[in-house]
Amino acid sequence: MLLQVRNVTKRFGGLTAVDDVSFDVPAGHIKAIIGPNGAGKSTLFHLISGYHPATRGTLTFEGAEITHLPMHEIARRGIARTFQTTSLFSHQTVLDNATMGYRMHAATNVFDALLRTPRARREETESREAAYEALRFAGIAPLANRIAGSIPQEAQKRLAIAIAVAAKPKLVLLDEPVAGVTSEETVEHAELIRHMANEGYTICLVEHKMTLVMGLADSIVVLHHGKKIAEGTPAEISADPAVIEAYLGAATHA
Amino acid sequence: MLRKVRVAVSSAVIMAMASTLGATAQTPDTITIGYTGPLSGGAAAYGLDVQHGLQMAVDELNAAGGVKVGGKKTTFKLVSLDDQYRPPNAVANAKQLSQQNNAVIVFCPHSGGILAMQAMNEKSSPKFLIGAYSSEPAILKQDNHLTVMTPPSYDAYFKPFIGIEMKRFGKKLGLLATTSAYGKAWADGFRKAWEAAGGTVTGDYGVDYNTTTDFSGAVTKALNDKPDVMLVGGPSQPTGLVIKSARNQGYKGGFAMMDQAKFEQVEDVAPIAQLEGTVGIIPFKDFGPGVGQFIPRYNAKFGTSRQANAEVGLNYETMHVFAAAIALANSTDPAAIMAKVERAAKSLPGTYRIADINGLSKTGHLLIRSVAAVVNKGKFEPVPVPFTE
């Protein structure tokens, strides 16, 4: 099992955003986490990636506990993530963005930079190649020299994925990868995510667009008010009465 | 491409700066007197006083037709540069004044700048005379033969001050001077002299007069040890506040006041009644023979909004000494002028004698007779201060 989430709880003041959630993500899997707004999906991602510390529970990645590690350490273990509102180094070039994704694999320090050591030169080349590879993977290599903040919204979303891919992670957390994207583009994005899975990345995604989720996910976890209310294949989930009620409300007329 | 513009800009600036070089060539019939001092920033008032004194002397000399050098009537020109009280700026200014304006003498009214200028003047050329307005003894110890220091060394005051205060009020001294370098040096010297005269010191309660808002705290602490005499001093007005605060808190003893504080300004804050028993340098109007005529001339030129004081007067006097020395030397060579300063000082006409001068010490100190005063029954009584060296 690549990632194990066990009894994870997060409280902010009086509010319990994530309440005793457990699930597993096997290697090579696409796992979707769905639920209405405010259900705690993004918070769950924040816990896995170390952005927030969990109040209770444990997170295990490749058999090692990562619950209390700082965010950058978790990333170094092989968990990459994107953010809900597309988060980029928006004043840097697209290429530099992707380079930063690979940055943790390079050990270059100030002295290497000043003395132009062989290591600095080698890593410079490596980073550049890794970055280009990630950009090609995401289909935005032609934009490499543009400033990230100035490229189209859809390309920015691809760049966010490219940064994650450049980190050469084992697990990628995608937080609403297609929010605010038109339906045609959504289809293309679904292909990109599928491509990632085919390349061997394990994926965990939070998404609202059901068409995308149902088409992609191997299995789905449904959160509601911070609690896991269902888990299963897309077919199982769409037939689950608890899920339908959570989404459509108590007055189910349909 | 973008670098091109950047570089173009920087080189344009360099060129612009370079082009100013040739702009001012010296006209042979004027002698430039340089001045670098604080003309902006917190000490600007002080710097302007010095400048006014020099300007007044220069204008008077020119009005009288200047001096004769090499058989030719020569006038003076004062060029002032701001150094914001910073020694490195003073050195840069001195270099500029000497190299660009061909200044023969450069005046500077702060010890840091003077010491730095002395070091620089040893090495660079052309050489110039330094008109040092500071009572820092270290200036005289540099063995620099082109420095003329004007104000009396502060240690000259120790003996007369201690004599008066110890006799009148008692042997216990509290130190409440400002914590500037000058203030600390003063307090240290005074403490040693006091102890040598058989007194005791209750403690050091010094605070920074420039940044302290309310002196009550420091005064309370000092008074708690019941001193008979307190050493106070720093800028005049804060010194007044310290005295006033001590009197308000019931202090009946005496004050020895550092020479940085001037009675006429201290009086703006602390009325004469509160100054009873205070010894300090005499108010400017009683300085010496020339003051009586000087003050009306000064007021006519610069107005009455700023009173003439020791800074104005002594720099005025020093400038006249230098002018006379130039005439005697019949040259603008700094060493030649320096050789005549002593004679010039001794023969200075009474109208220019703000304070009495008795010549020049070997170390370059003008032997100006400073006069102290003690407030006795609401009146300033002169106290003679011996010449130092």
Binding site: H72, G101, T108 | T20, A116, A119, S180
Partner: protein, 311 residues
């Protein structure tokens, strides 16, 4: 093309002692170079990582006092003293940085301002060591290396120019390296940098130490060049002045610190008679710049030239 223009600028700088017969002018330019080195240091922390270190001048002071004291009191020659001065500044930078970098934004600025003022108070009050307000005078020049003597305005000018060139080289190399790109990336988006496995605290500390290194270098050169030193070079107002040069020259650019310093020192010198009044212009200018022209001269020109190039 760019390289050619830098070479031209360097050639002009090298030629200045031959173009100008009087050394006071060299002193002004060299003074500007020294300030520019410190401003480059400020640029590393503010321009690259977006943190305003208001105690910057205090680190300049650490470097300067270390050199001055080691030379005058311990009898060290200049070169080891300079190395020690830079090291002292970096070590103190590491100490202050490891604590202050836990704060952000305004807190960081206020924290560093307080540290800076405290250091300046120590310089002023520890008279036995620092000479108080008078400071330290008669700091000896660097010893000769073979026939090369450094006791004179022209050789000293070249030393300072060398230090400036080294500084610009350091900034260029670092800025374009992976390290420098990480600095700006963190300033741009801290959370994403963390998510990419970057140890943000460590990288920030690196930038802070590099910044204080340059401040220390500038301080050491200052002590050497002027031969005297006082606490008034280390106060908050000096940091403010350096900030002014940086903002006008262009925050975050390679040419900005030099251009801003030269332009303002040049203007200040040309306006000698207006010394008192110049901040009546510079103050509002600063406000207008951050509002309308936050990239300063260098940034503004690079934007303009980019527009020309796009045509």
């Amino acid at each position: 093309m760019r390289r050619v223009l830098w070479i031209i600028a360097a050639a002009v700088a090298v030629a200045i002692p031959f173009l100008v017969p009087k050394t006071f002018y060299l002193q002004i330019v060299a003074g500007a170079y020294i300030t520019a080195i410190a401003v480059y240091g400020l640029n590393v922390i503010l321009g690259y990582t977006g943190l305003l270190n208001l105690g910057h001048a205090a680190f300049f002071g650490i470097g300067a006092y270390a050199v001055a004291l080691l030379e005058t009191k311990a009898g060290w020659p200049f070169w080891p003293a300079l190395l020690a001065g830079c090291a002292a500044s970096v070590v103190l930078g590491a100490m202050v940085g490891s604590v202050s970098l836990r704060t952000r934004g305004n807190y960081f600025a206020i924290f560093t301002a307080a540290v800076g003022v405290m250091i300046a108070i120590v310089f002023t009050n520890w008279q036995e060591l620092t000479g108080g307000n008078i400071g330290i005078v008669n700091i000896p020049p660097p010893p000769s290396i073979g026939p090369l003597a450094f006791d004179g305005d022209v050789p000293k000018y070249y030393l300072v120019l060398g230090a400036l060139a080294l500084t610009i080289l350091i900034c260029r190399l670092v800025r374009h390296s992976l390290v420098g790109r990480t600095f700006v990336a963190i300033a741009d988006n801290e959370d994403l940098a963390r998510a990419a496995g970057i140890d943000v605290a460590r990288v920030r500390l690196t930038a802070f130490m590099l910044s204080t290194f340059l401040a220390g270098l500038a301080g050491g050169m200052f002590a050497m060049y002027n031969g005297n030193l006082g606490p008034d070079q280390t106060g908050l107002d000096i940091t403010f002045e350096q900030l002014l040069y940086l903002v006008i020259g262009g925050i975050g650019t390679i040419a900005g610190p030099l251009v801003g310093t030269l332009v303002l020192v040049g203007i200040s010198h040309e306006l000698q008679g207006m010394q008192q009044y110049r901040f009546l212009i510079f103050g509002p200018l600063l406000v207008l710049l951050v509002r309308f022209f936050p990239l300063g001269i260098a940034g503004g020109f690079s934007r303009l030239t980019a527009r020309w190039a796009a045509r």
